[in-house]
Amino acid sequence: MPLYHNDDQAMLKDSVAPFVAEQAPVSHLRKLRDEADATGFSRDLWTQFTEMGLPGMLVPEAHGGLGMGHMEAGIVLEEIGRNLTPSPFLSTGVGAVAALAKAGGTQAGRWLPAIASGEAIVALAIDEGAKHRPDRIATTATRAGNGFRLDGKKSFVLHGHVADMSIVAAKTDGGITLFAVPKDAKGLTADPRRLVDSSLASHVTLDGVEVDADAVIGEVDAGGEILDALLAATRTGAAAEMVGVGQGAMDMTVTYLKERKQFGKLIGEFQGLQHRAAHLYGEMEVARATVMKAQQLLDEGSEGAKLMVSVAKAKAGRAANLAVREGVQMHGGIGMTDEYDIGLYMKRDRALAEFMGDVHYHIDQVARMNGY
């Protein structure tokens, strides 16, 4: 499969890009922010997403979805990134779907159709500290009665306060087990915090939450592989969204270089800025190719996917970060103002960079996977 969008994918992009740009441009984020919207995203927009079949893109057809791949989901995520659109698409439509589809069984049958029909928002309760360390899960699940009792604290749970279900990773006797915890479960509380990019992420407390045995996603103690699938999909999706954020910031900046005059010249005529913009272009192109490669390997079920997913999250993180920093700097004073959009790109990039492992975490993974 070549590393560019085929005709079907190009058509998808041609329908998704104008839709997101028209329905949820940066002003949409501003409005939600200024109104201090307690949901953090627009339900109306989510309904429109559902009408286009987007939440069910990755859901297998047998469960009511479109059975598409990560390459296609990436097209949507790039547009979400480019427009800074607040949406539960990444955690619900990508991360949760990847885990449920991998696990199959009761929970897949219960939740995948609900995700595809737009009825269910799902949150991913993986992290427990300020930094992403999925190999150090302390939340416990102990056998109790007919099921399990969950105790622990989760952090950085995007959409945790509005999710119909949260996928909770917990330690069991023989390994890691994933649980589908519905929002009305007794002992489950979500405390939402407003983040720098105006999104809402919750601190989730599991205080003796009791779930039935069939709440297990997949098999008891065998959640490691399912968690890996969830992480690979979500990281790759976050990388695609960052490519969108970086591209959006770069496009704004290049446009500005062609409009703004100083010393009687367009500032885009200055070689100092030209070289920096050209360097940024190269970094963004490499990041884009890397994310596409990760999507392709995931879609093929290739063994090489794990390495490329970490490379993609790290490279997209570096490139998008460069794009937003150069964006603010090249805009000069106006770039520091709240009314101008470039700063919003910097904020969203910061949040996405931290989500599911930052640049340093993933570079460390690259070293480990190469035996050093």
Binding site: P2, Q271, Q274, A277, Y281, R288, A289, I363, A367
Partner: protein, 393 residues
Amino acid sequence: MSDLDAFRAEVRAWLEANCPPEMREPIREEGDVCWGGRNWVFKNDAQKQWLDACVSKGYTVPDWPTPYGGAGLTPEQTKVLKQEMKRINARSPLDSFGIWMLGPALLQFGTEEQKVHYLNPIARGEIRWCQGYSEPGSGSDLVSLQTFGEDKGDHWVVNGSKIWTSYADKADWIFCLVRTDKTNKYQGITFMLFDMASKGVTTKPILLISGNSPFCETFFDDVEVPKTQYVGEINRGWDVAKYLLGHEREMISGGGAGGDMVSIGGAFAKAFGKNAAGELDDPILRAEMAAFDTDVFAYRAMGERFMDMWKTGRAHPASSNMMKYVGTELNKRRHELVMSGGGSEALEWDSEETKGGARARGWLRTKANSIEGGTSEVMLNVIAKRILDLPGA
């Protein structure tokens, strides 16, 4: 089984039968690279056998049409062949500027007669070519070149000199930019081909900081070039030159030759020793190497995407400038890390254990990467102007 799978099976069987074991080893020194040419001395029988086998199949230039010595493979088949050769670590049977640069330019701009006449010997490794672009007064600024061909009816008389002519002292023929009209800066240059054995051609190697002399100064003193030996149109050599530079950049950037782009941290794990956690025992260097490796794996993905897009006409024409810029800067970074990783051993200049200071010489050689074929700064200018469309660039 799809046609492509069948082709893969066929290639696999052919390679198994025809690629000698000695040719399935990584390139370790200059002599391992087969350049061909009139004066080529094969390093061993295996090198010759491998070249002969590939020539008979058209596999030295697999995507060229069969009348010109190629195998006429589609881009997909060419990719399969490359993948299968890489799978067994097969060395390239033949490397040459004829294949990388002149060939594609002739395929694009040459007459049918020229294609048959020049491409077949290139495919067979019989004529080694060098490139006469740069001049002492014009490096990246090629349109300022001064070497002049005076019109004498059926031939030109060429006078002037070139510099940085790679392997001019070993080449059989040269493809050369010669000014044929002094009144027009851009449309006054002709792309000529001539024999380096012609009367009036002399070469002088240039000693570099690496201690090697891959480049020469080349002098033309009343060299007669028949009027049949130009490519494209007279005075429009710049069109050919620009097309060819795209391919040169592709090559220098490693877009086509990513073979060297493997994990650097893994390569040095043994030399350093590891700590109790199994990590390289120098946390800061480990971090730098891991960051570098991440960029290398990312660049390989870009190389694949670039080739996929280039071959199907989807790539921006100036994207080869971007590949060249990113690739050469990455290669320089690699060799800085190779020197750090090698420690005092990498400093040795002429010991047998270091194969004559191969690392140190290699490190110094890479400093030219961001100068030859257009400097990094020129690449950035081109990206700014042609891709980002920035003003006044």
